[in-house]
């Protein structure tokens, strides 16, 4: 069998069970595909062909009926998630050559399920960005149109799934970094509730906001991957100890009576007209499925972006202080003394956006400004959380755009940081409140670029958003739209 068709985890599992293909053949097909398109897309910082092929061969020998659905499946791992013995750099010069002597909990979980890492995915440096243009190595391109950005910061993770270089990927989401690139690349991306998935081994950007989540080709795969990575981890104090769930059990087409919240302001100014159109059509789909639409208010979510840039930058300024050229990674040359070593290493090792946020965060925490900025932002976070709690007591999920626009051109927004920040206006409030949200494909814009719809749930309400997402996906089949990616010259 030739793997020319865009396949999901559950489809490959079915083919294997029927004996129509082997893990080795599947892996070979994906490696082949990478050889063809990677030159165009630049999803990966590192491709682990040989190791992946060996693991696929071993998978053929070791499979039995009890294997996890992810067994033998090639996936992409965002380069801010540590994997023992494999260079992990966050796409930053400052981590050049850093080889972790340990693996992230999620990487262990997936290894235990038999999934195989085929590549370390490109990203915005230290996950700071919305276009992947902040990678210090290279920008990733959008598989739908290589002149456009794939979104960020998990641009590599979203692009490698959309370009069919792997079956699924893991990303991380601090302010929309899974959902926004999923939206730009026409795939499914879930940011779980804060604390559902272990952060141990995720190189921190903003500790109180970061969450790892799946990027997949459909909602079923999203649930399958979440099953594997969700759960309590004693290595992460912020990991929540709760009953395990089978997320696939919530995938039903019948959502009669489900309450979908609509926030009027989210459909206002600044929204690309054809994006609004797709979203309005989506609302109609929900109506036809028997869902109940409820108007909800999120008056403070307008302030989320301001709070987000203070909180995330403050935490980042502290989290990124450890990169000093002493224990790992890049060390500048030609320094006079210790202070000079620190300054040269950090100034040469970090990119411009990272330095901008370190500066903002350092300033917001510094003596005399703490109360005005950092403490104020944490108080605003309280109000935002209260707003969401209230809105989500009136509905099961909130429907919104994932982004105000579809994928923009490379270089279009890189000169104005604030302009770029506004790309996350719908995704950021969710991180601030710690609640879960998913972005799923909801059609194409006039230029044939994917539009994403976001569904937001209560704390640990993954079941509600997966249910609503699955019903929509099955009713519309938008997820079957594929980029016509030209083979690299």
């Amino acid at each position: 069998m030739k793997m020319t068709k865009y396949r999901t985890i559950h489809e490959i599992k079915a083919l294997i069970e029927k004996g129509e293909t082997t893990y080795e053949e599947v892996m070979g097909a994906y490696i082949n595909r990478i050889d063809q398109v990677e030159g165009t897309v630049d999803s990966f910082l590192q491709v682990l062909k040989e190791e992946a092929l060996n693991q696929a061969k071993a998978a053929d020998e070791n499979k039995d009926d009890k294997t996890s659905p992810l067994f033998g499946i090639p996936y992409g791992l965002k380069d801010n998630i540590c994997m023992e013995g494999v260079e992990t750099t966050c796409a930053s010069k400052i981590l050049t050559g850093f080889i972790p002597p340990y693996s992230a909990t999620v990487a262990e979980d997936l290894k235990n399920s038999g999934a195989v890492v085929l590549g370390k995915a490109n990203m915005d440096e230290f996950a700071m960005g919305s276009s992947n243009e902040n990678s210090s190595i290279k920008p990733t391109k959008n598989p739908w149109d290589p002149s456009r950005v794939p979104g960020g910061s998990s641009g590599g993770s979203a692009a490698c799934v959309a370009a069919d270089e792997v079956v699924f990927a893991l990303g991380s989401d601090t302010g929309g970094s899974i959902r926004q690139p999923a939206s730009f690349c026409g795939v499914v991306g879930l940011k779980p509730t804060y604390g559902l998935v272990s952060r141990y081994g995720l190189i921190a950007f903003a500790s109180s906001l970061d969450q790892i989540g799946p990027i997949t080709k459909d909602v079923t795969d999203c649930a399958l991957v979440l099953n594997q990575i969700a759960g309590h981890d004693e290595k992460d104090s912020t990991s929540v100890d709760r009953e395990k769930e089978d997320y696939t059990s919530y995938l039903q087409k019948d959502i009669k009576g489900m309450k979908i919240g609509i926030v009027e302001e989210y459909f206002g100014e600044g929204l690309q007209p054809d994006v609004r159109k797709r979203l309005e059509e989506a609302v109609e789909v929900y109506k036809s499925l028997g869902a109940q639409l409820v108007d909800v208010k999120l008056p403070t979510s307008d302030y989320a972006l301001s709070a987000y840039y203070i909180i995330s930058s403050a935490e980042a300024s502290s989290n990124l202080a450890r990169y000093d050229g002493i224990r790992y990674g890049f060390r500048a040359e030609g320094f006079d003394d210790l202070l000079d070593l620190y300054k040269k290493t950090r100034s040469q090792g970090f990119g411009e956006e990272v330095k901008r946020r370190i500066m903002l965060g350092t300033y917001a925490l510094s003596s005399g400004y703490y109360d005005a900025y950092y403490k104020k932002a944490l108080q605003v976070r309280t109000l935002i959380k209260e707003d969401f709690d209230k809105a989500l007591s009136q509905c099961d999920v909130i429907l919104s755009p994932t982004c105000p626009t579809t994928a923009f051109k490379l270089g279009e927004k890189s000169s104005d940081p604030l302009e770029m920040y506004l790309s996350d206006i719908y995704t950021v409030p969710v991180n601030i409140a710690g609640i879960p949200a998913i972005s799923i494909p909801c059609g194409l814009d006039e230029q044939g670029l994917p539009v994403g719809m976001q569904l937001i749930g209560r704390d640990f309400g993954e079941k509600d958003i997966l249910k609503a997402a699955y019903a929509f996906e099955q009713a519309t089949k938008h997820h079957l739209n594929r980029p016509t990616l030209q083979e690299a010259r």
Binding site: G97, F98, I99, P101, Y194, G195, S208, E234, S237, T238, V240, T300, D302, Y303, S306, A307, Y309, I310, S317, A321, D324, G325, I326, R327, Y328, G329, F330, R331, D337, L338, L341, Y342, K343, K344, R346, S347, F350, K355, R356, I358, M359, L360, T362, Y363, S366, Y373, K376, A377, L378, Q379, V380, R381, T382, L383, K385, P417, L418, I432, A433, D459
Partner: protein
Amino acid sequence: MKLTKEDVIYVADLARLEFTEEELGLYADQLSAILDYEEKLNELDTTNVVPTAHVLPVNNVLREDVVKPSLDREKALMNAPSQDQGCFSVPNVLE
């Protein structure tokens, strides 16, 4: 909020960063613009609002006092740009 170049230098020192004259100007402008945007926060009255450092109401995550194996020294040092006598080596620290 208008940041001067001196403000930028002070913050850069705290963060162990250094900038060229040109960069100083750029960062002063960009940070000022971001801080102007942050003024929005002051539209909200947060009197008596409790700050939220943790979104989840989780407390007392404590581990038992049990010794676990440490890394081999070789592994602990394997990423060091400079090492000497089983230690990480840095330029002389004068007090």
